[in-house]
């Protein structure tokens, strides 16, 4: 075990972890930040998606120690009032069913519309194909991503 410093949602957090502890468990069990979800543990489903320097990463297979000092954004760090364009769009379209995958979906969308101000269906499908939704909200996610991009552009 050794202490590392993680920069999470703009805040520096000291955490004592083994060298192989994935970020997911450092967040959930060490810092009690439970917005990032465990589902597959092997980087297949995207429920644990966080942004590292703005890029979606799978927290379940990323050792916490390997990203010490980098900018980590979790779902808790987006907008605590739900006013980020992606959060607003997700609400307007009423995307969730069980909601368990949605934190990962939302962060994936945040990253996508940062890079691409007007994503097509194909762009959205490509960005989200690593994020499984067992309830089948894909159809709504597509719609919500487009709305979020429009909100961000200021034309919705």
């Amino acid at each position: 075990m050794s202490e590392i410093k993680l920069k999470i949602n703009g805040e520096e957090r000291a955490v004592d972890v083994s060298s192989d502890m994935p970020l997911l468990w450092a967040l959930r069990d060490k810092l009690n930040m439970t917005g990032t979800k465990y589902s597959c543990g092997i980087g297949q489903c995207g429920a644990c998606t966080v942004l590292v320097n703005g890029t979606p990463m799978r927290a379940c297979i990323t050792p916490a120690a390997s990203i010490a000092g980098m900018d980590i954004t979790t779902i808790e760090g987006l907008d605590s009032e739900g006013e980020h364009p992606v959060q607003q769009a997700w609400h307007k379209v009423d995307v969730p069913q069980c909601g368990y995958c949605q934190g990962g979906q939302i962060l994936t969308a945040v990253s996508l519309i940062e890079r691409n101000s007007n994503p097509t269906d194909a762009d959205i499908d490509a960005a989200h194909s690593g994020n499984i939704c067992r309830c089948g909200t894909y159809h709504r996610i597509r719609k919500a991503v487009k709305l979020a991009a429009a909100l961000k552009r200021g034309d919705a």
Partner: protein
């Protein structure tokens, strides 16, 4: 206060004053109204759904587990509608397990039909008492007063009193007879119902602050993993638990002897640590010597099914003379349909948090569809009386029937009973997939007779399923009253059972979600063999009666007509394109789908567009209802590519790498429409599943000429 004198009513209202001056009103269910009072209580307690505070805040309690079916939004909408309050002022509270609520289950799509009357009574009764309170205060007739937007209005004198100002006086009003209440029932009367209302937990979901079962965090809590024998039912002979106790973070490691109940506490090894990762890391060094008790395999099931298919089986139901009808037939069609075992694969793997308080009270935080059943199992297994077991109901990261079984709850409780700290048992994805209660596989040997006009004169199904000791296993039964029973002059259902040692259970729309594929596909085969249009053939079949049917044929026809109208059924399609149709009835609702696909000669296909039509009575929450229909279709399409298989009594698949759910790029666009019939509303969590797969496979036939009679579709050379 009149509280006890109308006990014979179906439901009754009861009022109790709160210290705050607010009042609470609730509805009792038949089960509790006529049953024994909850132990420890001296009088009947009302079931509490509504709370109105003097500061005008309105709280509505949702009693059933929420796992994505939208019940926590739709049911309080019913109360708010009848209470005449502004939905934006409503706060919804999740109930915990409390016997005063009666049934608290997410299953059987029953939340809506069960709640419809009682919640309307709860809301309307409260509104009437508030109206009477205002009338009394003003000295006018209640008939001159009306309720709207959380206030009572007296038009003549232009006076208004908000609910928050009427609470004290309302508690003194006599309770109206439930039968005297005028309950809203039709869409034209609704202000809130029928609208698109976003989920009440959305904001918490979008900010990562919503607590699922696995998000429970308690002071001093430790984390556990539990290793069971990969081969179902296996027992622990020995394990290196002493060695594991020395691993970093490990708090304890011990063998659980368990029971023989596959749905209960199975034998295994528990490892408890300060963090889950440490428990799981220690588990990688775990060595267990298992004593296995069975070696079931998919290959063996297949061989047995082939042999049984040649035998007559047991006749479960017979109408007319099937054999004679086949002899006289113009054409006889025969086909075997097969579908494999599948897993629930909830996104949130099974977990439960438990704490045995020093007082002896067992407290649980459980993402369960069936909290009462979990409490019963824990009581039985651990010998703790039910009144000492408290279940906090968290949101579920998906249910689909998996969480109707309480194995994960009893495991957590057992582990907690060995510790003096709260413990969270968190299964891995692998545990979840390999210790599920699978939807059972089955073979349908179907045979139909048609006359020279293309009319179906006989239908026979030899259903080869799974069962032990003369009974089908959970989720593996088929009723002889089921479609097309009652619609054909000659009908016979025969059944054979393969014994099995792996656990099965309800999987979203149990039975229906599987066999509808066989029936609606074979219906297409029959229609086309007789030179008839699949829609016209199905509608025609619904017009004739040869005995009872277990569904309303007009409602079924209504959904078929609407879906096909919206899809412009029968229009000319492009090259490699086709339309497919299927419908089904289950859990009180009717759903028809038209799927349009483009199929390449390579086997690759795409579902271009889907048209859905549902009749579940009046739609309560349009957004939630659409979500269930859209999600149901995608769930079914996803599942049509999946398979769980067994070798040496253990599950072969382990994670999304070899049980790969549908991805966004494979998901179609779905448009949803409704027949808003006059019937009472029913749930939509299950009905959209069954007809989805055959709509797709029928479309594939129309597009490519390839008839799909077996799943998973990948083994048929199809991919998406």
């Amino acid at each position: 206060m009149k509280t006890q004198d109308n006990i014979n009513r179906r439901a009754f209202l009861k009022v109790s004053a709160l210290a705050s001056g607010a009042f609470m009103i609730g509805v009792s269910y038949r089960s509790t109204a006529y049953g024994k009072p909850h132990e420890g209580e001296k009088t009947w307690e009302p079931n509490l759904y509504v709370r109105i505070d003097p500061d005008e805040s309105i709280t509505i309690v949702s009693k059933n587990p929420e796992g994505g079916q939208g019940i926590k939004t739709a049911m309080p909408m019913i109360v708010a509608e009848c209470l005449e309050v502004d939905w934006n002022n409503v706060t919804v509270e999740q109930a915990n397990l409390d016997d005063r609520y009666g049934r608290q289950v997410a299953g059987g799509s029953r939340g809506t039909p069960d709640g419809w009357d009682d919640l309307r009574i709860a809301g309307t009764g409260a509104m009437v008492m508030l109206r009477n309170a205002a009338a009394e205060k003003w000295g006018v007739s209640p008939n001159e007063c009306s309720a709207a937007n959380g206030a009572i209005h007296h038009k003549k004198s232009k006076r208004t009193l908000t609910y928050g100002k009427l609470t004290t006086l309302a508690t003194k009003q006599s309770v109206p007879d439930a039968k005297s209440l005028k309950l809203k029932s039709r869409p034209e009367e609704f202000k809130i119902l029928g609208k698109r209302i976003p989920g009440v937990d959305n904001k918490k979901i979008f900010t990562g602050t919503l607590g699922y079962g696995c998000d429970t965090r308690l002071d001093g809590m430790v984390y556990a993993v539990f290793e069971k024998c990969p081969s179902f039912g296996g027992r622990v002979k020995s394990a290196n638990t002493e060695q594991l106790k020395g691993f970093p973070g490990v708090v304890d490691a011990f063998v659980v002897d368990g029971t023989d109940d596959l749905k209960g506490l199975m034998p295994g090894v528990a490892i408890v640590a300060e963090t889950w990762w440490e428990a799981q890391s220690a588990r990688k060094q775990l060595q267990v010597d298992w004593e296995t008790i069975q070696s079931d395999s998919t290959a063996s099931y297949q061989r047995q099914a082939e042999a049984l298919s040649k035998e007559p089986g047991k006749t479960l139901g017979s109408v007319g003379n099937v054999d004679k009808a086949f002899d006289k037939a113009h054409k006889v069609l025969e086909a075997q349909y097969y579908y494999p075992f599948v897993s629930h694969a909830n996104m949130e793997p099974q977990n439960c948090t438990a704490f045995l308080h020093p007082s002896g009270k067992m407290e649980l935080w459980a993402p369960t569809q069936n909290p009462k059943s979990g409490r019963g199992l824990i009581s039985k297994t651990l010998g703790i009386s039910e009144d000492r077991i408290h279940v906090n109901m968290t949101r579920l990261g998906g249910g689909f029937g998996r969480r109707l079984t309480s194995d994960f709850m009893v495991e957590a409780a057992w582990i907690a009973s060995k510790l003096d700290r709260p413990v969270q048992l968190q299964w891995t994805r692998e545990d979840d997939m390999q210790h599920d209660f699978y939807r059972p596989a089955a073979w349908h040997n179907l045979k139909a007779a048609i006359d020279k006009d293309g009319k179906m004169t006989a239908w026979e199904n030899h259903f080869v399923t799974f069962g032990n000791n003369g009974r089908t296993t959970s989720g593996a039964n088929l009723s002889p009253k089921h479609y097309p029973s009652g619609l054909t002059p000659n009908f016979r259902l025969r059944q054979s059972m393969i014994p099995l040692k792996v656990p099965t259970g309800p999987w979203r729309s149990p039975g229906h979600s599987a066999y509808c594929f066989a029936f609606q596909s074979f219906m297409d085969e029959i229609a086309l063999a007789g030179g008839r249009d699949p829609l016209e053939f199905r509608l025609d079949l619904l017009k004739q009666r040869y005995g009872e049917t277990d569904f309303n044929t007009e409602r079924a026809a209504g959904t078929l007509k609407l879906a096909t109208k919206n899809a412009n059924w029968g229009r000319k399609m492009g090259p490699n394109q086709g339309q497919g149709l299927a419908f089904h009835f289950d859990h009180g609702a009717y759903v028809a789908f038209v799927a349009e696909v483009t199929a390449q000669p390579s086997g690759q296909f795409k579902v271009d567009q889907v048209y859905a039509a549902a009749d579940a009575g009046p739609v309560l929450n349009r957004s939630g209802a659409d979500n269930q229909v859209e999600g149901g279709f995608i769930d079914a399409l996803s599942t049509s590519f999946l398979e769980i298989s067994f070798t040496n009594g253990a599950t072969d698949q382990s994670n999304f790498s070899n049980y790969n759910l549908l991805r966004m790029n494979q998901a179609p666009s779905i448009s949803v429409d409704y027949v808003q019939s006059d019937y009472s509303p029913t749930g939509l969590g299950e009905p959209p599943i069954a007809p989805a797969t055959p709509a797709v496979t029928n479309a594939l036939f129309a597009a490519s000429g390839k008839r799909v009679r077996s799943m998973p579709l990948g083994k048929e050379g199809l991919y998406i």
